[in-house]
């Protein structure tokens, strides 16, 4: 019987799932993903997590709980310290496996190997070796499994850069056909936010699909190449040390500088630390120029959709008027 490894549909799932899935399968695991976010999952997350944590962490707790209930053998919760040189992920990611272990009862084994490539890229193989050891594979075989999975990851990233969103890109990797948006679009709107906020339809109140339905083409920071992102953050006085925030800030500023979009929507999660800083920076830079309309949406565990819909409609109306006037 293969070992059933559970991956929560939260946090960096939206960046690395195809890679992790193939890597784990090559090592001989059966990969189980937690269910799509529901009110129930969010509520169970809120119950197990401290009140002060940010929304994505609470949600991730819910997904871990969901995996526990599914009875997986191992939960895949790598301690993601850094995925790029001289950068970090937010502090809560660094402590997330410990937070989970101290707060969720009845956990199966947790795979909390550290991913830290802050010093050098090759350090990833410390991670592959430890994960491989769980499946009784040697260092070389695990490294090979990882390297063989990389093409999938690159393919996934290039799909994102072609403008597909994570769910669609994962679908294409599986060989699904993508439905065209039935509504004609006359606007282009950037949605800037952490992947785990904007791509989770429940948490983001279906923001992206709503925008599409209202006739706007959506572009996110993940649709841009690394080079474009870095172009965008160039003006910052100091390197941003959070990988995802650098992507968001760079993406927003790049789209703004190129006049590539009609409006920018920044999506922040309640109590998110990096968002409070980079959101402020993005907003100040964009407002100073005053050429692209900007809106900030804060997400929390309250699910009043009507308010968000009204704000989106108002924002899009404003963009259309503006376009006519100019």
């Amino acid at each position: 019987m293969p070992i059933r490894v559970g991956i929560p549909r939260a946090l960096l799932y939206y960046y690395y799932f195809p890679l992790w899935k193939e890597f784990l399968e090559r090592l001989g695991a059966e990969v189980v993903v937690s269910d799509r976010t529901t009110k129930g999952i969010l509520t169970s997350g809120v119950e197990h997590c401290v009140d002060e944590a940010c929304l994505p962490i609470k949600l991730a707790f819910g997904h871990v709980k969901n995996l526990v209930d599914k009875g997986v053998d191992v939960i895949f919760l790598p301690r993601i310290v850094s995925v790029a040189q001289r950068e970090y992920i937010c502090p809560k990611f660094l402590g997330f496996p410990d937070m989970v272990k101290q707060n969720i009862p009845g956990l199966p084994r947790v795979l909390d190997t550290t991913i830290n490539v802050r010093k050098k890229q090759q350090d990833i193989h410390l991670f592959t070796r430890e994960v491989g050891a769980l499946f009784n594979h040697g260092a070389i075989k695990s490294r090979l499994a990882y390297l063989l999975s990389m093409p999938t990851h690159f393919q996934y990233i290039s799909l994102l850069e072609q403008g597909y969103l994570p769910e669609e890109a994962m679908g294409i990797l599986k060989g699904k056909k993508i439905k065209e948006n039935p509504v004609a679009t006359d606007l282009k709107v950037a949605v800037i936010g952490h992947p785990y906020n904007i791509y989770d339809p429940f948490i983001s109140m279906n923001l992206i699909n709503r925008l599409r339905k209202f006739g706007a083409e959506v572009i996110t920071a993940d649709n841009l190449t690394e080079q474009m992102v870095n172009e965008g953050v160039k003006r910052l006085p100091k390197k941003l040390f959070w990988t995802m925030s650098r992507r968001m800030t760079g993406g927003a500023l790049n789209l703004h500088d190129r006049n590539a979009v009609d409006g920018i929507i920044h999506v922040a999660a309640f109590a998110c630390g990096p968002d409070s800083m980079t959101g402020e920076l993005i907003e100040r830079y964009i407002r100073r120029d005053g050429k692209v309309p900007f809106m900030n949406i804060n997400l929390d565990e309250h699910t009043g959709e009507a308010g968000v819909v009204t704000r989106l409609e108002a924002f899009l109306d404003m963009l259309r008027w503006r376009k006519k006037a100019v």
Binding site: E52, A271, G273, M277, E280
Partner: protein, 366 residues
């Protein structure tokens, strides 16, 4: 050039001492107050942590006093503090409050960057003198810490309410006024004498509570609503896990100065509860809870600013620590709505709990 810096408790004594030693003009911002906070809250991002808001307030108030250069520390993540200076700079820019910003932080490429930044403040003064000034500033920090530790022990035992605080203020001022190393030695002796003559019942037993958590809210009395004073007046001897000289020694001098307790003692005991550093002082917070419990403390209080990322990690782990080491731990979250009366009530309740627990323990063991 008139240099200013954000407040953090008595840090101004040390920084001012260091800069004045070099003959640089210093503007110490007015002590943090309701006005500082109101100014800061008005112009800062809503979910930024409390220190940033107070910093902004400090800078606006210092500008009114004629400051034109900000000297600040920085960092390279993952705690938000590493980007503080730049966000604050953008906010001040939009407010048309003009400042030169000099950030002292680990260099991105090579040490020359940092030296260059120091040069921006010190001009062409010789390096030897700068090193001497650094040492002088550090000695001041150490002196202030010594006096503060004395106040922790005297306050719960004072006979006249408030006498410790008055003596402490005088003692700090004495240290603040010292201009040379010799003067500082004398000032420290006199300051300690001031503390020693506070009428107190030295032998009275007191509950011992450790204050742990985030450095800014621990050190800045305005941010923690004078928690040390309130605990002292409730008859509790306090110990603070973070002292300024200890922080400076750990982070700037790489632990070179001996005879100063290092935060390594906390980091060592944080596992198995927290197995990795999480930025800021999250790891130290978890470790200090374990450490103080082993030292026989009756309880610990974690103090953190609202939305502080590393401390939230610590906070979610502390209940388990508390249960396993058998020491009650309370968490106090500081934001801009810190009502003092509510805080005192919570402290009283916590202290009552500790007292009862201690009585039970003593009844069982006697």
């Amino acid at each position: 050039m008139k240099v200013t810096f954000p407040h953090m408790g008595y840090m101004y004594v040390s920084l001012k001492g260091m800069l004045e030693y070099l003959g640089i003009d210093v503007v110490v911002p007015p002590a943090c107050s309701k006005k500082t906070l109101t100014l800061g809250v008005k112009h800062s991002p809503e979910f930024a942590c409390l220190p940033l808001k107070l910093n902004i307030g400090n800078f606006i108030e210092a500008k009114e006093l004629g400051a034109d250069t900000i000297m600040m520390a920085g960092g390279c993540g993952p705690c938000r503090f590493g980007y503080y200076a730049y966000v604050e700079n953008e906010i001040l820019k939009d407010l048309k409050v003009d400042y030169n910003l000099v950030v002292m932080e680990p260099p991105e490429k090579h040490i020359g960057e940092l030296l260059g930044r120091i040069r921006k403040i010190t001009g062409n003064r010789p390096w030897l003198q700068i090193i001497k000034a650094l040492r002088f500033g550090f000695l001041k920090a150490k002196a202030v810490d010594e006096v503060e530790v004395l106040s922790f022990q005297i306050r719960p035992r004072e006979l006249v309410r408030g006498s410790t605080d008055r003596a402490l203020q005088k003692a700090i001022n004495l240290i603040d006024e010292a201009k040379t190393t010799t003067e500082l030695t004398i000032a420290l002796e006199r300051a300690k004498e001031l503390m020693r003559v506070v009428p107190a019942e030295r032998e009275r037993p007191a509950l011992r509570v450790a204050l742990i958590g985030e450095i800014y809210t621990l050190l800045e009395p305005y941010a923690n609503v004078n928690i040390e004073r309130h605990l002292g007046q409730l008859g509790v001897e306090v110990d603070r896990s973070m002292m300024l000289s200890q922080w400076v020694n750990d982070h700037l001098f790489m632990g070179l100065v001996r005879n100063i307790p290092s935060s390594d003692r906390f980091k060592k005991v944080a596992a198995p509860y927290l197995n990795h550093f999480v930025g800021g002082h999250g790891l130290e917070t978890v470790g200090s809870a374990v450490w103080y419990a082993r030292q026989g403390y009756d309880g610990a209080i974690q103090v953190l600013p609202f939305t502080c990322m590393p401390e939230i990690v610590a906070q979610s782990i502390l209940p388990k620590v508390s249960a396993e080491v058998d020491m009650p731990i309370m968490t106090l979250i500081m934001d801009e709505h810190s009502g003092e009366a509510g805080l005192i009530t919570r402290l009283e309740a916590f202290i009552d709990l500790l007292k009862r627990k201690k009585e039970q323990k003593e009844a069982l063991t006697s």
